[in-house]
């Protein structure tokens, strides 16, 4: 590992970077509504019913109808809430979720119209740390949302969310460190290139499982969705939100799911690489990555339909007493194997 590892990528012209940012954001923005309807259709199938099927063909227009419904609602807030923080919180949530998306590589460097363009937002030398930095900030979206609502349910949800995010972030990070040690680089494109021989799913299987479990907690998905446990907390930290701020929180949540799926795809499933030495042309790469991400998202939905929600003390003790020691052990074993 020489210091040349840190010299990542190259500098593109500024207009290419702006176009890339717009394209990635637009694509993610377009995928999100489809994702919501996909989740509900799939949940319906798991529960032996149809799911939404009234608006448009196969119910595909359902998100459109919902957005119109939410956007035309009267904006309101509780009298006990703190106005400007109440408005800022969903913005922080969205901002951090979208910023983390910039790191997910959708393909290798391509030659488009004579320009070298990397099919990713940015490729930073600090790699996954960037994602964790924004995950750390996204906590304040939840916290402010819960605190400024001036409601006990919101506040309880926010506190739970804080404790849960912190507890599982450690395991998630340690699981990724195993991959970083094996690849010898922090750059996400570098990690994908290092997986040419074998996807890290196989040598780092334990890390993969730990990352997956921790990701359920990080994205507040069932069975770790205690932040918004609707049986106990009405709606968690966004209980008091309605209309577009509510959509903003939902948007951030689904975006986090996409980001986690993207990171898992990159770190463990070989990013845009295909198995058995198939080398498709460069424009196929993003579709490969999106297909792999859909596998993860389908798994997330499957688990949501299958497993019941944990109790809060179970969540905490599982995170600290089972997941964290396993992640540390995985890291130690990986380090010993790599060095020896």
């Amino acid at each position: 590992m020489s210091s040349s590892v840190a010299v990542v990528g190259f500098y593109e012209p500024w207009w290419i970077q702006i176009i890339k940012a717009l394209v990635i954001f637009a694509a993610a923005f377009a995928i999100l509504p489809i994702l919501t309807v996909y989740e509900r259709k799939l949940l319906g199938r798991f529960q032996n019913r149809y799911g939404p099927n009234r608006v448009g063909p196969f119910g595909l227009m359902q998100p459109l109808a919902e957005i119109v419904k939410f956007a035309t609602k009267e904006p309101f807030r509780p009298t006990t809430s703190i106005g400007y923080m109440f408005r800022i919180a969903p913005m922080i949530a969205i901002l951090t979720a979208v910023a983390a998306l910039a790191l997910v590589p959708f393909g290798d460097v391509q030659h488009i119209f004579g320009q070298r363009v990397g099919l990713y937002g940015i490729d930073v030398s600090i790699g996954p740390l960037y994602v964790f930095a924004f995950a750390g900030i996204s906590f304040y979206g939840i916290m402010l949302g819960g605190w400024s609502s001036g409601s006990k349910y919101s506040f309880l949800g926010a506190m739970r969310g804080a404790a849960q995010l912190i507890s599982y972030e450690v395991s998630q990070g340690l699981a990724l460190v195993g991959v970083v040690i094996t690849a010898g680089t922090l750059s996400l494109t570098g990690i994908v290139h290092a997986q040419r021989g074998m996807w890290y799913l196989i040598p780092q299987f334990a890390g993969f499982v730990i990352f997956l479990v921790a990701s359920f907690a990080e994205t507040n998905r069932a069975p770790f969705d205690l932040v918004e446990a609707d049986a106990e907390l009405v709606g968690g930290y966004f209980t008091e939100y309605g209309g577009t701020p509510f959509i903003a929180f939902m948007f951030a949540e689904y975006m986090n799911m996409i980001v986690v799926a993207g990171i898992a795809t990159t770190m463990f499933l070989g990013g845009w690489l295909l198995p058995f030495g198939i080398h498709p042309p460069g424009w196929v790469d993003p579709f490969v990555v999106v297909a792999k991400m859909m596998i993860f998202i389908t798994f997330f939905i499957w688990v949501r339909a299958t497993l019941p929600r944990l109790r809060y003390d179970q969540l905490m003790s599982f995170g600290w007493k089972a997941l964290l020691p396993l992640a540390t052990l995985n890291l130690l074993v990986t380090a010993i194997l790599v060095v020896s």
């Binding site: 210091s3 960037y130 964790f132 930095a133 995950a135 912190i166 109790r311 003790s317 089972a322």
Partner: protein, 223 residues
Amino acid sequence: MSSVVFFVAAIGVLAGAIGVVVLANPFYSVLALVAHLISLAALFLLLRAEFVAAAQVVVYAGAVMVLYVFVVAYVGGQDQPVRSSGPGLRLIAALFGAALLCELWIAVIGSSLKSLTEHGAPYTPGFGSPSQIGQLLLTRFLEPFEVASFLLLVAAVGAVILARRRRGLGDEDEERLPGFPAISVAEVLSGRVPTGSMAEAAGLGYEVGESAAGTRRQARGGW
């Protein structure tokens, strides 16, 4: 471009710092410090300290400030008077701060640090990257690294001892609620994890203890 970013970030840093000092509610002080830290990370990035900037945000904003938020929520975030015990102390503090600033100012602008007016050493690729920091930490600065890790251990143990409940509930009860067994690795692996569902409480699954047994008796008699 970089000077615009610098001024925006510097204004954020200073505004956050002033906010910490003057805001009455501790919760707002914590939030001001978070804004300060994030702006500071931007300054670090301008100084090509990528790893330190990321570590700053992850460790400070992501973990330390969250601890603050918890403690403020626990202790109570009501407004408290900013005023110190006497106007005299306040004046003296302001004078002391101003004197300190003058001294630092003289040190910077005056005699010894003239080379600072330049733009610094030429940037070499890999400066401040994780690999360089890691190499330095594990070679030249191995002893400080080890001592720091030991310090962290001491702090963790100290915090546990300080924040422990001394009266009321005993040690055993503090670990877990009575009647709710703690989860263990073996249980997780063997699938005997209590799920807290109604079926369990009715005795169909894992034995949950006294309270659940009561529910079970009720269920038998009632329905």
